[in-house]
Structure formats: structure tokens, C-alpha cells
Amino acid sequence: MATMGSTVLHLPSGPTGVVGKLHPTVLFNICDSFIRRNDQQERVIGTLLGSFSVDGTVEIRNSYAVPHNESLDQVAVDIDYHRTMFELHQRVNAKEVIIGWYSTGSGVSASDALIQDFYGREVTNPIHLTVDTAFTDDQANIKAYVSTPLTLGDRPLAAQFHEIQLDLRLVEAERLGFDVLKKTVVDKLPSDLEGLEGTIERLQDMIDTISRYVDNVIEGQLPPDNAIGRYLADTIASVPRVNSDAFDKLFNDSVQDVLLVLYLANLTRTQLTLAEKLNTAAQIV
């Protein structure tokens, strides 16, 4: 009997503590490469770059597509291309290392194990990210997996993919403004004042909602909720209580400062125009 000793099937237990944080650039990159794929390919794969942090969080910062060929039983990935691109990216930002790979399309297929294996040679625990571009189930499914090998004794059997938690807080995309990113064409970037106007309107809406809620609770139409009540109390308490005189003085001082600077700036501009006229109009006799 060849098989002796450990014929134990190792199955990992419990959730893995890895959490993934996705930057929006990666998502956009993946979509772009999916749109630009060759006609024969059904899906696109590529490398993920990012960093591992000490507490187990993986930040996925950047990505690039890697050409590959897939058929029913074989997968060929262009390794040279992958290496070259990685080197090029390293020259720009040395902190980003290979942390895994991505593929479009839902779910995990058989050939993925091979690709996972290949990436496993580059980094110890590669993350596999799937982005469902076909919108099956009418939902945008973005999932990340870590794999653990299943071994039967010493022989590797298969790789099991575990889903890990993915933090999709797209902070940078928020900075840009979702309005700008949602539409297919935005005609004009919002200027400073327009943006501020929008923000103040939203603030006003929020305050209206809250005041309506409070009114409703007082009249007894809605059941009071302790947690919300406490939040509201905290928020209102965080407005600093300043003596009215002191506040007026503070306010007036700041307004005067700003007006002074504004006046100075406009004066400078007028002076520049004047100087321009004088300089070029001067005649040397």
C-alpha cells in the first residue's frame, strides 16, 4: 500500500482574516480593458498591484491587463508581458507589488486554479478578484477570493477559493463626484461655486429631513428611537457654544480678513493691466 500515514484531507476552517480594499482606479482599468478586448476572447485577465499592510488588509491600488489565450483545457498567459509591465510600473512607484490577479466574468472556473497557481509563485497568497461585467443576476458582482490548496497527504488535489471581505469604499471616486462618473458624458466640470451650492443644498435637505423627523416624533406619529435621538443630541452638541459677542467679533474679523485679501487681489490685477498698457505703449525717443 503506497498510501500510508497521513491520508487526511486538509480543509481550512473558519474565515480568513484578510480584508481587501479596492481603489476605484482598478475598477475603471478593468472595465476599460474588458471593453478593449480582442473579439475572440470572452474574458480578460490581468495583474493586480497594491500593498499588504500589517493588520492583514490588502490594498488594491493599480492593475494592468495581460494578454492570454484560453481554450477548453489549456490556458496560456503571456508571462513576459506581465514581467515587463510590472517592471515599468515599479519604476514609477516602487511600493506597489503584485498582490494577485483579476478576471472578468462571474464565478470561478476550472482554469482559474492554474492561473492562481502561477500567481502563487510570485506572491505568497494571491488575491483573485472577479468583476462581473455581464451583470448576471442584475447586479454588479465584485468579489475577491483567496485560495487555499487542498492536499491529500502530500499530493495537491485542488485549490479551494474562499471569498474574502471586500471594502468598496470608493473615496477617490467620491472626491471626483459620482455625478461626473455616472453619466456617459459630462459637459462641464462644476466650478467652485456651483459645487458649493450643491453641497449646501444637500445640507439643507438633510436638516429638513431631520427636523421633519423630530416634529413627527414629538407629535407622536412616529415611535421615538433612542439611538437616533442620541445621535441627534451629539450632533447638536458638537456645534461649539460661543458667547454671542465673541462669535460676532470672530465672525467680523474673519470676514474683514477675507475682504481685505480679495480687495488686494483685485487691486493687483488692475495694476497688472495698467502696467501692461504702459509697458508696451512706451515709446523711446
Binding site: 478593449r36 512607484n93 461626473v180 455616472k182 449646501i200 480678513d257 483685485n266 508696451t280
Partner: protein, 341 residues
């Protein structure tokens, strides 16, 4: 997509006709490019970084569909850096070609610190690019201002008249008056549009969080105005110093010029007196001009390019202060209203 309709011409005609370069009216940036630029510039703050823009040039719209950053120079030999940079670019473009990304360079982007980007290097880079590409654009991104909730992304290009003038390398008062060029005419700003593919917009619509306020709003409502204003004013004052130095150069030149003219006049008078004396004594007349005399040497007028650029920068700072002051005033009045209740 609008296509300009041209009458049917024979191939020979089309080949021999001169290409008319239509000025680009709009720059259409992909959301992907905007995000990548933001990410790259923010990561390398406070160092200033640059990168290349790739895209398509169609009609009056310049589409930018992808970009890649340039590696930052680290204090190496000049030659190495040059060769490396070119190598990097070629490799990157080749790799991107394989995944069907548009391989066409349409310009470059750079980050700036508080809007101080008008330098001679910018102009030279523009001219370098212009030699190879008909219409190129430079996108300037200011990560500091974007920290206040505004997307400070601008598309610039050199105006044609300025480019012609620069080729002649002459910037004296006469020439500028001829062309009617003021400091405003150096750079032209092109309006920017952002476009996204349908897939991306679908994904974003799904992923948008339902919170009523976003990070953008929080950034905008920050009340502290002092740091930004202070830095702006600091830069403004520095620029003023530079401008006054330039003015002094001009004054020096004018003073020298007038002194020289006085000298010329006195020399001429002496010559005339001498000639009159010689005429009386019947000798040869001396020529009234003497080109070898150093007082007749024409003084070179200092170039006005630097002062133009500085003036441009000052105007930029003033504009920024204006915008920012408007915002902070509204925020302060808001705070006031809060307090009164």
C-alpha cells in the same frame, strides 16, 4: 460623432492640399484618465510629477482615453535619465498596444503646486511636442486645490500667435505691439468634458453609496480658510518680487539707452564742430558716423518673456484668491446663520 463633410476630391488633390489644422475646441477626458491622474499626483505629493496622455484626435474634439505616468528622476546622470525615459516610453506604448489601448500620444499632464505652472520649461515642452503632433494639449492638475472639493483639472495649449513669435525668439516691445499680444495670450484654456463608457457608468450607478453626503461635500464645507490663503499670498508676494526685479532690469536698460543717446548726441556735436573747423581750414571732412565707437553699439533690449510669464502667474493667483474668497464668505455667512438660531 459629428464628421465634417468634405467634397469628393481626387487622391492627388487631397495629397497635395495643405492640411488645415482645426483648433481643438473641447478636450474629452475619460473618467479613467481623470482618476489615474488624481491618483498619481496625490501619491507623489509634494513632488511634482508628469505623465503622458494617449488618445484620439477627431475633428474638433480631442479625446484622451488613457494615460501613464513617467518615472520620477532621481539625481542620476543626465544621459542615463534621457535614455531611460525614452526607453520607458517606448516599452509602455508597445505593451499598451498589445491590449488594444490607443497608441497615439496627444499630450502630457503634470501636477502643479498652487497653480504655479507657467514656466519657460512648459513652453519648451509644448514646442517639443508640437513638432511631432499637430494638436497637443497639456493637462494641469492641482492636488492641493482639489483637496477643497473642487476638481482642479485644466487643459491648456499655447496660442498659435505665441508659438510663431517664440520661434523668432524676439520679445521686444515693438514686435509685441505689432502682434497685439498681451500676457493673456500666451496660454489658451480649452474646456474639458468627462466621458465614461456605458459599462463604467452602469457599475458606478450600482456602487454609489446611499449616504446623503459624500467625502466631496465634507471637503467643501471645511471652514478653515487661513492655510490656503496664506500660501496663496506667500506665492503672490514672491511673484511680485520677481516682477519688480524684471521691472528693474527694464529700468536699467532704459537708463542706459538714454545715457547712450546723450553720449551719441554730444559726440555728434563734437564731430560737427570739428568738421566745421576743418571746412574752414580746407581739410578733409570726417564722417559723421563712427561705427567702431562703442557708444554706437546698440544695446539689446531685455526679453519680455519672463515678465509675461510672471504676470500670468500673478493673475492666476489672484483668480484663485478671488474664487476662494467667494466660497469662504458664503461659508462664513452660513455659520453666522446657524449661530443666530
Amino acid at each position: 460623432m459629428t464628421t465634417t463633410s468634405t467634397p469628393m476630391r481626387s487622391f492627388a488633390q487631397a495629397a497635395s492640399a495643405e492640411e488645415i489644422v482645426v483648433p481643438s475646441r473641447v478636450v474629452q477626458i475619460d473618467g479613467l484618465v481623470a482618476l489615474k491622474i488624481i491618483k498619481h499626483c496625490k501619491e507623489c505629493m509634494p513632488a511634482l510629477v508628469t505623465g503622458q496622455l494617449l488618445g484620439l484626435d477627431i475633428g474638433s474634439i480631442l479625446e484622451v482615453t488613457n494615460c501613464f505616468p513617467f518615472p520620477s528622476r532621481g539625481g542620476e546622470e543626465e544621459d542615463e535619465v534621457e535614455a531611460d525615459g525614452a526607453n520607458y516610453q517606448l516599452e509602455m506604448m508597445r505593451c499598451l498596444r498589445e491590449v488594444n489601448v490607443d497608441n497615439n500620444t496627444v499630450g502630457w499632464y503634470q501636477s502643479t503646486y498652487m497653480g504655479s505652472f507657467q514656466t519657460v520649461e512648459l513652453i519648451e515642452t509644448f514646442l517639443n511636442y508640437q513638432e511631432n503632433i499637430k494638436r497637443c494639449v497639456c493637462i494641469i492638475y492641482d492636488p492641493l486645490r482639489s483637496g477643497q472639493g473642487v476638481l482642479a483639472l485644466k487643459a491648456l495649449k499655447l496660442s498659435d500667435s505665441f508659438m510663431e513669435l517664440y520661434r523668432t525668439q524676439v520679445f521686444i516691445g515693438e514686435k509685441l505691439r505689432e502682434k497685439n499680444m498681451t500676457w493673456k495670450d500666451i496660454f489658451e484654456e480649452i474646456p474639458v468634458k468627462i466621458s465614461n463608457s456605458v459599462l463604467v457608468s452602469a457599475l458606478m450607478t450600482e456602487l454609489e453609496s446611499d449616504a446623503p453626503a459624500s467625502q466631496c461635500d465634507f471637503d467643501r464645507l471645511v471652514l478653515s480658510t487661513n492655510p490656503f490663503m496664506e500660501k496663496n499670498l506667500e506665492f503672490l508676494i514672491e511673484c511680485m518680487d520677481d516682477l519688480s526685479m524684471e521691472q528693474q532690469k527694464f529700468q536699467y536698460y532704459y537708463r542706459n539707452l538714454s545715457r547712450q543717446q546723450v553720449q551719441q548726441q554730444s559726440w555728434l556735436q563734437k564731430r560737427r564742430a570739428e568738421n566745421a573747423a576743418r571746412r574752414l581750414s580746407g581739410e578733409e571732412l570726417l564722417p559723421e558716423e563712427d561705427p567702431s565707437n562703442p557708444i554706437f553699439k546698440t544695446l539689446p533690449e531685455p526679453s519680455r518673456l519672463d515678465s509675461y510669464l510672471i504676470t500670468n502667474q500673478i493673475a492666476n493667483y489672484c483668480g484663485q484668491v478671488n474664487g476662494f474668497a467667494g466660497q469662504s464668505l458664503s461659508k462664513m455667512y452660513l455659520m453666522d446663520a446657524f449661530h443666530q438660531d
